[in-house]
């Protein structure tokens, strides 16, 4: 598989997985609204649950912002991969000319162009690597959010335990948060692994 194909597949995977994350974040927002209502009804017995719902709300908002940012980065990555591929194809065609035109009277007129094409190709590769690195950092941020979310889901379970007759309702909220966090983590891991694989492929090509 060519670098462009690998990058395009990785970018498409990120976009698709992040779209799933976005949906999960929306469900989290709905779930937190429900949790707020329940904890208000529970009154003093669910006092510790109020700040937790605020945390969950913040997490859902942060996830939403990150999804928008990562999706934009994935789109830029796709565009860069096309430019990279065009640059590579152009360079290869000109390398063929250099090989075939050895005895041509005016082959020397290609010298400056070849240097320009090599420079452009290297520049494209650098831009592509930078964008991949930036994307991996953003996905790492998403992973950090899921770590916080796991902590919050544990806290919410502890708080739910003390909520007497609202215990079961609040445990459902904690269950939802836990499963949402697991979904987001899973989609993020798939995206992250794809991006790391492409980065490794590109680094290997650079070393060649």
């Amino acid at each position: 598989m060519t670098t462009q194909e690998t990058v395009l597949i990785a970018a498409a995977t990120v976009t698709s997985e992040l779209s799933e994350v976005s949906q999960v974040a929306k469900n989290m927002t709905l779930s937190v609204m429900n949790a707020k209502t329940i904890s208000q009804c529970a009154g003093e017995s669910a006092r510790g649950f109020h700040p937790i719902t605020d945390y969950i709300e913040d997490i859902a908002k942060n996830i939403d912002h990150l999804v928008i940012q990562i999706s934009e980065e994935a789109r830029t990555l796709s565009r860069l991969s096309v430019i990279y591929s065009q640059s590579e194809i152009g360079l290869k065609r000109y390398e063929t000319v250099i090989r075939k035109a050895k005895d041509a009277a005016h082959v020397s007129s290609l010298k400056g162009i070849m240097q320009k094409l090599y420079d452009e190709f290297e520049n494209c590769r650098t831009l592509l690597l930078r964008k991949l690195e930036s994307l991996s950092v953003s996905l790492d941020d998403m992973k950090n959010i899921t770590r916080s979310s796991i902590v919050i889901s544990i806290m919410s379970r502890v708080e739910a335990a003390g909520a007497f007759e609202f215990r079961k309702d609040l445990e459902v909220v904690a269950d939802n948060l836990e499963s949402s966090t697991e979904d987001i983590r899973s989609h993020t891991d798939i995206s992250y692994d794809k991006i790391i694989t492409v980065m490794e492929q590109l680094h290997r090509e650079t070393q060649k």
């Binding site: 152009g90 075939k100 007129s109």
Partner: protein
């Protein structure tokens, strides 16, 4: 790629074709080059797949900096899909194209090259030693289409008119006109959509003094074969694919 000089005086005409290294399944194309003293024009420089062979062939005759102009008779990929690659070497060149296709041809990836749209009625291109004429050939086969006439060399570069999708080792000039008719017939009836457009072109081109009629595919016509071709084409019913 085979290279033949078809006119050599103060300025020269070259044809590049019959590339033995061409990828299988791709139709053979004739690329032309007009070399004047300070200007070089490439006519229908070809598709992306033959770019390396074409540039290699060109470098046997001219220095890259000498190439100042490109011409695309119409928008087809076998005519000009190599544009993005040419631009890498010729960022300052001018591309003469039918105005109708400019926005479409830009899809071939050239951003720096200067577009010189040709109006429907045609125009001229002054290369110093020779003033070339853009001859309207709309609907033959493309809806925005030009041929190039050189009044000094008496050459008409006729795009798809006179074309034949021939064998890769076909001779550069038509050797047996009667045998050639059989090869031309289907191509012209199928690709050329309009009898009216054809008659207009015949009338226009009939006034020109032509020694060589140089199509974009297959053998070139010279001498008496030029008139034979025009007479044959005039009689041919085209645009026959409508069921």
């Amino acid at each position: 790629m085979k290279s033949t000089i078809i006119y050599d005086d103060i300025h020269a005409w070259h044809v590049f074709a019959r590339d033995p290294e061409k990828v299988e399944g791709i139709i053979d194309t004739n690329q032309y080059m007009v070399k004047a003293n300070n200007r070089v024009l490439l006519l229908d420089p070809g598709g992306i797949e033959i770019f390396s062979s074409m540039l290699t062939a060109v470098l046997h005759h001219v220095h890259l900096e000498e190439i100042t102009d490109l011409f695309a008779s119409h928008q087809d990929p076998d005519i000009i899909s190599s544009l993005g690659l040419w631009e890498q070497a010729l960022p300052g060149a001018r591309l003469h194209v039918p105005w109708l296709w400019e926005g479409f041809i830009r899809h071939f990836g050239a951003k720096k090259i200067k577009y010189m749209p040709i109006e429907d009625h045609g125009g001229t291109l002054d290369l110093g030693e020779v003033k070339l004429q853009f001859i309207p050939a709309h609907y033959l086969h493309s809806s925005g289409n030009f041929h190039i006439y050189d009044p000094k060399a008496k050459i008409l570069m006729s795009g798809d008119v006179g074309a034949v999708l021939d064998k890769p080792d076909a001779p550069m000039f038509v050797e047996d006109f009667d045998a050639h008719i059989e090869k031309m017939k289907m191509f012209h009836q199928q690709w050329m959509p309009s009898n009216r457009a054809k008659q207009d072109w015949i009338k226009r081109v009939g006034k020109l003094d032509i020694d060589i009629l140089a199509p974009q595919h297959g053998g070139l016509f010279q001498g008496a074969d030029v008139k034979r071709f025009l007479d044959w084409f005039e009689e041919l019913d085209v645009g026959i694919a409508i069921p």
